[in-house]
């Protein structure tokens, strides 16, 4: 799907997200693919905080705020209602889509998501991953990478930021034997758009994990969001893959990684890292890719 085939309408407009917000770019792009008959469910998080400031309501389609833990459960209900409504009205192109942050997916909402996948509900769950609880002021989440400085994992003389690696959410979801799961980044928006489009045509639960840099929390200039989102995939600290019919597949397999050190050094949240810390990160990246390339083909 290219730019001219996209819906010209805007469904997420006039919102109060910070300038250069990666999450709002992901929401906007996904809704342009899904169209006006998509009902968006947003748990507590940046996108609900910036989209619904009564009377400033920035969604052009139907959208609702759910409980923090209940994005996937509310999607189940929305989809059941939509299915009945659409049958009565005689149309089929409806979507129940959820936009949860990394905390709302990997920490707080994981059991509801797991339940929805288990029930096989026909929903699309999009996790926009900005790697911390950015809305409340940058606290560590389960998807914060190793070494990142947040307000709950400060960088000091002894402990250099977060000591735990990023939770492997994509493979956790895929392990449910989900019909379709994918990873993406807002830096390669065409790839993300294609994955959303592909997911919208599949029946059953779909999950897309999209990296969405946060200039405020990552300590990068607001104009660098897209550049950094590209770099994370280019330097191998993120991978673009799909899981479908029980098989993993890399959608982008870089022949040669760009410098992970350059990617880390340009961000304020990794500024404190020593050369050994960076060597640890690069080492774990290489081990991960070795496994990915061997097992996923």
């Amino acid at each position: 799907m290219n730019a001219s085939a996209l819906d010209k309408n805007e469904y997420f407009y006039g919102h109060k997200a910070c300038a250069g917000c990666g999450g709002s770019l992901a929401v906007r792009a996904a809704l342009k693919v899904l169209g006006e008959r998509a009902v968006a469910v947003l748990p507590a998080g940046c996108m609900s905080a910036v989209g619904f400031n009564f009377p400033q309501l920035c969604f052009g389609n139907n959208a609702i705020i759910s409980m923090f833990a209940g994005t996937a459960s509310m999607l189940t209900g929305v989809e059941a209602g939509l299915r009945r409504y659409a049958r009565r009205k005689g149309y089929k192109d409806f979507h129940a889509v959820g936009f949860a942050g990394d905390g709302g997916t990997a920490d707080i909402g994981i059991q509801a998501l797991s339940g929805a996948i288990d029930r096989g509900d026909d929903i699309l769950y999009i996790c926009y991953d900005n790697e911390a609880y950015m809305n409340t002021g940058i606290q560590k989440s389960g998807l914060t990478p190793y070494g990142a400085r947040t307000t709950t994992t400060p960088a000091g003389a002894n402990i250099h930021g977060n000591i735990r690696p990023k939770k492997n959410m994509f493979e956790i979801v895929a392990a449910h034997d989900i019909p379709y799961a994918a990873t993406a980044t807002v830096g390669y928006i065409n790839d993300f758009i294609n994955k959303v489009e592909k997911a919208s045509k599949i029946r059953g639960t779909k999950y897309i994990h999209v990296i969405a840099p946060c200039p405020t929390g990552w300590g990068i200039p607001v104009s660098d969001t897209v550049e950094v989102a590209r770099e994370i995939a280019d330097c191998g600290l993120w991978y673009l893959a799909e899981y479908e019919n029980g098989e993993y597949r890399l959608t982008r397999d870089p022949k040669e990684f760009t410098s992970a050190e350059a990617y880390l050094r340009r961000q304020g949240r990794f500024k404190h890292l020593t050369d050994e810390d960076i060597a640890t990160i690069i080492d774990s990246r290489d081990r991960k890719w070795e496994r990915i390339r061997k097992e996923w083909k």
Partner: protein, 93 residues
């Protein structure tokens, strides 16, 4: 079609809907005041590749044929369009 500015922008307490439902796409304020630099498109250099339109987080760029048109009411001046442009046709000033 996109969410647009409405005339009625203030609500008294009694007018606030009780059932927490309200019209979608109801805007009352603009974001223009957030901006410290403003993007300007050089139409001579522009090749109409739509990259700025695709990557704008606020969706303020729309393509009219091959020309990007900016809605300065909602542009926050982040400068992503300027960085992404392959011909450097968008200048921030």
């Amino acid at each position: 079609m996109k969410p647009y500015i409405r005339e009625k922008s203030t609500f008294t307490f009694d007018e606030i809907p009780e059932d927490t439902c309200f019209e979608a796409g109801y805007l009352v304020t603009v974001n223009a005041g957030w901006r410290s630099v403003t993007p300007y498109v050089d139409t001579e250099k522009c090749i109409g590749c739509s990259q700025c339109y695709l990557y704008c987080p606020d969706g303020v760029i729309s393509m009219e044929g091959k020309t990007p048109v900016l809605d300065y009411d909602f542009c926050k001046g982040c400068g992503i369009c300027s960085k992404i442009c392959p011909r450097h046709a968008i200048e921030m000033r």
